[in-house]
């Protein structure tokens, strides 16, 4: 059995798991690219997420933020079909329609650390591949940490 992390990308490709309707019917979740948001001098963050033609996958499908806070997100649908986005945000989730060849924006506020799913909640876009993750790095504020000696982590 070949399952080491090093050849994961090759194995996904070999098994047909890097595109829709080859191995799976849709696109297996979390098999897309990983990207990082850029941080501005004022601490806000910026990133772009696209939907490439016929890939049914957010690009990146895993977006990594250096810390919690405000993210300005550009969303581009280069696909030849209409999709949308339901995005995590403190206050209320954000929704946007993304018709074919469209570009939109979302401003999100997220806590860190932890990760959040976002998706295209139309038809079964979510199951067919258009479910992605936003990962927020970092620690909770010092005042929220337990008063105890440093403890081991996994």
């Amino acid at each position: 059995m070949t399952t080491t992390a090093g050849d994961r990308s090759d194995l996904l490709d070999k098994l047909g798991l890097k595109e829709q309707n080859r191995a799976t019917i849709g696109r297996l979740l979390a098999t897309g690219n990983v990207g990082q948001a850029t941080e501005r001098a004022n601490g806000t963050m910026q990133a772009t997420i696209r939907i490439n033609p016929d890939e049914l996958c957010w690009d990146p499908s895993v977006l990594v933020l250096p810390h919690g806070g405000d993210l300005e997100l550009e969303l581009i649908n280069d696909d030849l079909n209409t999709h949308c986005a339901l995005l995590p945000n403190n206050g209320d989730r954000k929704f946007i329609w993304l018709v074919n060849h469209s570009r939109g924006r979302a401003t999100l506020n997220l806590d860190g650390p932890g990760y959040y799913w976002f998706s295209s909640p139309t038809g079964n876009d979510e199951g067919r591949g258009l479910t992605g993750a936003i990962v927020v790095l970092g620690e909770v504020p010092p005042e929220a940490r337990l008063d105890r000696p440093e403890q081991p982590r996994p």
């Binding site: 995005l87 206050g91 954000k94 060849h101 506020n109 806590d111 932890g114 990760y115 979510e126 982590r153």
Partner: protein, 567 residues
């Protein structure tokens, strides 16, 4: 040729896609003048349910009597609020609707799972506004994606999130006023309790007792969110109570004692009465020799200073996961200021709430095999996970003879009404190394899926059982007592029943379509009494009723009322 993109614009709040009549997204300012004095005197305005238990004393009793033993048979749904769920949420298989709806002058405020808070028209069930906090998918949750409700005061709605924030919202529009982090999700902390507003403070406790954290209670300023005090429920070395932990090592630092449920308050003693959770690791006592204060205790905390004034430990050196987080019901009897507490360990404790002195102890469930407690409070452990790999069966199971869901007390009948779970479990000790954020149980545990029973049982303050309403399944939802001499209780199988408070006779029932694991409340609007119950099975079902793990989830809030001709 380059084709310009279509401008999709800016993403909008999802709530704007839930049509409302223009202006209907703003609630009247009913919370603006909800003060400490009003909450303290909540019993004088029974049309409202102003605080988690209805009143500071935790009795879950309303004097409302429009719905009574004579006409309750006509009770029917007035409205249903359905929240549902979209997208991938934390605990997608364990979310549950567990809140106690708060009502202020015709507006209901209720928290759901996964960071939801709604303001509803209490007369129609129509959503006024919603707040949705983004909850990390990977937050550590021992017992499901759940929340027990909100608090209100001075124009704000307060609630906690699964990633251990306490948040104040503007009660008119649901916008965030302040937001404070009070727990460490990387350490396995979370939050599930309904806040309690006392004076000018919001009091909240931490969750995470299954992850080896150090439980605490925190107070924040109502207006600014400024942190006032923190009370740790496991002492550091050298502090009072530290002698009940091993002198060497760091067992205390992982000791548990989380305050994951709401406490009660007596303005005359100025004491908060808070139950604390299990020690960690739950079932492996060898790594934490001693009584392990203040785990599994009723703790009296000075409301102003956050200092512990006295404690009563219900299960010293717990080896069965017998949290004492259950409510501390304040009542008076024979001229004494007392506190009643139904513990997971199967015993009903009554103590003097001025000093913690034991008044009486009585078992309230038929099967107790873990050990015994004598009338004078002496505890003897009998059956517990002791040898590595050796399965041990005991009653009650780790969800307890009563889980977190609440008993009620009627000053009219002077009876306590307790939801009882008579279920056992098998635990096999399996020692593991401690690492932050990884469950720290020290055992493999399987709760029985057969040979179980439940009841709503009525006890007087002396511990004498007056009646018992039997059920084939354990009773896993909070009880509500009313001035109509009714006791309302929800079943895991979906029925919501009304019992005669004097006899236990069932007078009415309605099948709600999903199991009950919440806290019903009652209120009135324009002279009409309603009984509201969140319905949505889930949570730690593998702990309190694994025989119903396959039951459907729900996400409804149902308000019942009498038809016009019957009220």
């Amino acid at each position: 040729m380059t084709v310009e993109y279509v401008d999709a614009g800016e993403a909008v709040n999802q709530a704007t896609l839930n049509y409302k009549t223009p202006g209907a997204e703003v609630a009247p300012p009913v919370v603006a003048d909800v003060t400490y004095e009003r909450i303290r005197n909540a019993a004088s305005e029974p049309h409202n349910w102003l605080t988690y238990y209805g009143t500071y004393n935790g009795q879950r009793f309303s004097p409302l009597d429009q719905i009574n033993t004579e006409n309750v048979k006509h009770l029917r749904p007035a409205w249903i609020f359905q929240a549902g769920t979209t997208g991938m949420i934390a605990g997608a298989s364990t979310y549950s609707f567990e809140a106690a709806p708060i009502v202020v002058d015709g507006v209901m405020f209720v928290a759901g799972w996964d960071g939801w808070v709604w303001a509803l028209d209490a007369k129609t069930g129509v959503e006024i506004w919603r707040y949705k906090h983004a909850i990390p998918y990977d937050v550590s949750l021992c017992c499901g994606n759940v929340n027990r409700g909100v608090a209100v005061a001075q124009g704000k709605v307060f609630f906690v999130t699964a990633n251990a924030h306490v948040i104040a919202l503007d009660a008119t529009n649901g916008k965030r006023v302040w937001d404070k982090t009070y727990g460490d999700v990387r350490a396995g902390e979370s939050a599930t309790c309904a806040p309690l507003v006392v004076k000018d403070m919001v009091i909240v406790g931490s969750s995470g007792g299954e992850f080896g954290v150090r439980g605490h209670l925190d107070a924040f300023d109502v207006e600014s969110g400024e942190h006032r005090w923190r009370c740790y429920m496991v002492p550091k070395p050298g502090e009072p109570g530290s002698e009940t932990w091993p002198a060497d090592g760091e067992a205390w630092a992982r000791g548990g004692a989380n305050c994951w449920l709401t406490g009660t308050f007596d303005p005359e003693t100025n004491l908060l009465y808070w139950g604390t959770g299990n020690p960690a690791p739950d079932f492996d006592g060898e790594v934490r020799e001693g009584d392990n204060l203040y785990t599994d205790s009723i703790v009296a905390v000075d409301a102003d200073s956050g200092q512990i004034q006295w404690h009563y430990q219900c299960t010293p050196h717990d080896l069965w996961d017998y949290d004492s987080i259950a409510e501390c019901i304040l009542f008076e009897s024979k001229g004494r200021k007392l506190l009643g507490h139904f513990d997971k360990n199967g015993y009903f404790f009554v103590v003097d709430r001025t000093n913690g002195e034991l008044v009486q102890i009585t078992p309230f469930v038929d099967r107790i095999t873990w050990g015994a407690i004598t009338r004078d409070g002496q505890v003897t452990a009998k059956v517990y996970p002791e040898k590595e790999g050796d399965p041990v069966h005991f009653y009650p199971g780790p969800a307890g003879a009563k889980e977190w869901t609440h008993a009620a007390y009627s000053p009219r009948t002077e009876l306590f009404y307790v939801p009882v779970q008579d279920t056992g479990a098998t635990a096999t000790r399996r020692r593991r190394e401690f690492k932050e954020s990884i469950p720290y149980w020290g055992a493999g545990v399987q709760v029985d899926i057969d040979d179980m029973a439940g009841s709503i049982s009525a006890f007087d303050a002396d511990g004498e059982e007056k009646w018992r309403y039997r059920n084939d399944l354990p009773m896993c939802a909070s009880v509500l007592a009313t001035g109509g001499d009714l006791v309302f209780a929800g079943k895991p199988s979906g029925e919501f029943v009304a019992l005669d408070a004097s006899t236990g006779e069932q007078l009415w029932q309605f099948q709600c379509g999903s199991g009950h694991h919440s806290s019903p409340t009652t209120f009135s609007v324009d002279g009409k009494q309603y009984v509201a119950v969140p319905v949505g099975w889930g949570g730690w079902a593998e702990g309190f009723l694994p025989g119903m793990l396959g039951a459907g989830h729900g996400s409804a809030l149902i308000a019942f009322a009498l038809p016009e001709e019957s009220s």
